[in-house]
């Protein structure tokens, strides 16, 4: 009885989260929805006599994989969202039709199979003394080669990340002295304000002021500025409003 209730609750949760993953426009919401699916599946594993997999699911999937996804989303811009324009006409419609057909096909195929009641894992785990020892026995005997070869995958992954994203420093890192010299030689502003010196607020949406009292455009938060322009709610300070508009214009270029 307990299993039935758990299943139905989690089935509804995971299917709605999966639909949310496909339907929500913002990539971050998609990632969160995927996390929900993964957590529900972890519970379903635990219910089905797979406690070790439930733990691994949480550690590897929701822990490592999801973090990596979120990390990359932050890297490429958290406000990236899909445009809803179809490039191939009717693609979405036909994809959904095909997907629905595929779901029905899969559902009929697995639903029509005449299955005996589950054998249960009691016999398999009891002789070894529990789920984890039983899995260990299989991994280190029957499937030992797959286990060893999986290390090739992990090495490849590490190498891939290094090759594609690690930039080697080709020139010496400029010292503070060199930076100061360069600044003086170009005749830019010689003394930069210390952080917070000219700030009137510590709120994130208030830009910093430069020594001459003008708004520093660098400090205008792009995401908030975009919302401000979309909703046409500008601050009273005309200088600030101007800076926000400019920031958004530059962003859209």
């Amino acid at each position: 009885m307990g299993e039935t209730i758990t299943f139905w609750v989690l089935a509804v949760v995971s299917v709605s989260a999966a639909l949310g993953l496909v339907l929500s426009r913002r990539a971050v919401y998609c990632a969160l929805m995927l996390g929900v699916v993964m957590l529900s599946l972890a519970v379903l594993y635990a219910v089905q006599d797979a406690p070790f997999l439930a733990a691994v699911q949480i550690v590897v999937y929701t822990g490592a994989v999801m973090m990596l996804f979120l990390f990359v989303l932050m890297l490429v811009g958290v406000d990236s969202s899909d445009s809803l324009v179809e490039t191939i006409k009717g693609q979405r419609f036909w994809a959904i039709v095909a997907g629905a057909g595929f779901a029905v096909l899969l559902g009929l195929a697995v639903g029509n199979a005449v299955l005996s009641p589950p054998a249960g894992l009691l016999g398999a785990t009891q002789t070894a003394g529990g789920n984890v020892p039983a899995l260990a026995q299989l991994i280190f005997t029957r499937h030992v080669f797959a286990f060893e070869v999986a290390s090739a995958l992990l090495i490849t992954a590490a190498l891939a990340a290094m090759v594609l994203t690690h930039r080697e420093r080709l020139t010496e890192k400029p010292t503070q002295r060199a930076l100061a010299r360069a600044r003086f030689l170009t005749g830019g502003s010689v003394v930069l304000p210390g952080p917070g010196v000219y700030a009137r607020h510590n709120a994130n949406d208030m830009p910093a002021l430069l020594p001459d009292g003008s708004v520093s455009e660098l400090s205008v938060n792009r995401v908030i500025a975009r919302h401000d322009v979309e909703d046409e709610r500008f601050p009273d300070d005309p200088k600030l409003a101007e800076a926000i508009k400019q920031a958004v214009e530059e962003e859209s270029k």
Binding site: A109, G129, T141, H143, F145, V149, A152, L159
Partner: protein
């Protein structure tokens, strides 16, 4: 709490595989510890010696112990006749491909630098190079060997990924036209991951049906299990989707031209030869060993796929204007020809005949393909390789030897007598006729004729049209590239004139069929 019985691993028989993986790991250590200026000087001999050594081990093993008759590594891997032959073929093709990879100027100086940025210019000026390509290529080669020799679906899946992950990465490392290269990498990766998800779901269904992922165990379950046929059919279909994607059979061929065009040409050569061989090894294992008794059910579908693949490959090749895309479509058509051999099952002798024909075809096609791509790397203009066909006009007048060799490779693709392609096609089609697939052979011959039309058009273009004034230059080949072209041409001639020894070898490898 019971102790675990230590597993038995037949290290002797697995040695070629272990050698390749071991050398890949040593290569990674070299990346970590050797100084930059020494790395290439260590990698190249290491990689070549490893591949040649593994090839030598395969031969020694066959001579000393004959063909093993039982699965090894606790039943995970089947080192049987076909496996050993395929290992030999993959190793030969990889040696040749590594000679191409070794050629400078094909790989990016710094993959992390944005194309066109000052960083990139500086990396090029400083002569930066990614020597990581050698260990990555070794991992991919090890994955190919594993994929073709797997005896259960789990190891097949792991092998598939070990083979694919380095290739996804290597595709994005071309030195020139980097946007194109990165794009091909993303496409290959997303489609590859999509297809392996299908493979996996098929595997789940088969496991649900049989209760095991052992290929022999699945075969045993075919007669025993009742009432779950839907699981079996669904699983077969989904496994098929995953495998057909890897061999590039229609309608799952869409990635092939894009990836072949975008990837660095030496990597294209490795993919077009090695991956195809490995994937056919896996196809044969799944459909002959595990699902052999189900052939009445999968054969009609595979008929359709083979016909579609041959026609799509041959017809779309005609419309191509880029030499690498054209070779990609030709590879699709060849995958179709090979599928006719997979269909031609029957009695044990018939199976052995088809298998031996397929093995010969894979060797002949693979070596010619590497040669053709080697020629492509040599025809260059200012922006790198001159891919567009119009740039190849009049090549025969500027560089008759090179154009002649390329024409010879094209004729081998077309299956003209006195080339290896002729005997390959002849053997596969003969086996297909004996297996009762006459209509397929008719389609095969017709599409060969269509494809031949296009190959001849390229030859005419090379020899009978005026060279463009600003036409591409023929790069003076490095020793490696020259050796590749010479080797491939020699192999194509020898296999086309005196194929008997290799046929005998393939027969011997195929006669014992697959172990279960």
């Amino acid at each position: 709490m019971n102790g675990i019985q230590p597993p038995t691993i037949e290290y002797g028989q697995l040695m070629p595989l272990l050698l390749v993986f071991g050398a890949a790991i040593v290569g990674v250590l070299i990346e970590a510890f050797a100084p930059r200026y020494l790395r290439k000087a260590i990698h190249v001999p290491l990689t070549m010696l490893t591949l040649l050594g593994a090839f030598g081990l395969v031969i020694v093993q066959v001579l000393r112990d004959g063909v093993p008759t039982a699965a090894v590594a606790m039943g995970a891997i089947a080192v049987d006749g076909p496996s050993l032959f395929i290992w030999g073929v993959i190793l030969v093709l990889s040696v040749v491909s590594v000679l191409l990879i070794n050629d400078d100027d094909n790989f990016v100086a710094s993959a992390a630098a944005v194309p066109g940025s000052p960083d990139e210019e500086e990396a090029i000026a400083r002569g930066g190079a990614h020597t990581e390509v050698y260990p990555l290529a070794l991992f991919a080669i090890g994955g190919m060997m594993l994929f073709a020799a797997s005896n259960d679906l789990l190891i097949m899946f792991v092998g598939l990924e070990v083979m694919s992950l380095p290739l996804y990465l290597l595709c994005g490392l071309a030195r020139r036209r980097r946007l194109l290269s990165q794009e091909s990498s993303v496409k290959y990766f997303l489609l590859g991951a999509f297809s392996s998800a299908f493979f996996l779901y098929g595997m789940a269904m088969i496991y649900g049906y049989a209760g095991t992922v052992d290929l022999g165990g699945i075969n045993d379950a075919l007669g025993r299990v009742g009432g779950q046929d839907t699981l079996l059919y669904l699983g077969t279909a989904l496994l098929g989707v995953g495998l057909f994607f890897k061999i590039g059979a229609a309608p799952f061929q869409a990635w092939k031209p894009d990836v072949y065009q975008g990837a660095p040409t030496p990597i294209t050569a490795l993919m077009a030869s090695g991956t195809l061989v490995a994937a056919f090894g896996a196809v044969l294992r799944v459909f002959w060993v595990a699902l052999g008794n189900l052939d009445w059910d999968w054969r009609p579908v595979m008929w359709g796929i083979a016909i579609l693949t041959m026609i799509v490959g041959a017809i779309l090749a005609i419309t191509q204007t880029d030499i690498k895309r054209m070779l990609a479509y030709s590879s699709i058509a060849h995958a179709g020809f090979l599928l006719t051999g997979v269909i031609a099952t029957g009695e044990a002798t018939q199976n052995a005949n088809s298998l031996s024909a397929l093995l010969f075809y894979l060797l002949a096609y693979g070596i010619t393909t590497v040669g053709a791509f080697a020629v492509v790397t040599m025809v260059r203009d200012a922006g790198g390789e001159a891919g567009h066909l119009s740039r190849w006009a009049g090549l025969g007048k500027r560089s008759p030897a090179l154009a002649g060799i390329f024409a010879f490779f094209l004729l081998a693709f077309a299956g003209i007598p006195l080339t290896s392609g002729f005997f390959g096609k002849y053997a596969v089609f003969a086996a297909a006729v004996a297996g009762g697939a006459l209509p397929l052979v008719v389609v095969g011959v017709v599409s060969s004729a269509i494809a031949a039309f296009f190959y001849v058009r390229v030859i005419v273009l090379m020899f009978f049209s005026e060279p463009a004034a600003d036409g591409p230059t023929i790069a003076v080949p490095s020793a490696g590239t020259a050796a590749v072209v010479a080797l491939a041409a020699a192999a194509t001639v020898v296999l086309g004139v005196y194929p008997q020894p290799v046929f005998d070898l393939a027969d011997a490898a195929a006669s014992s069929l697959f172990v279960r």
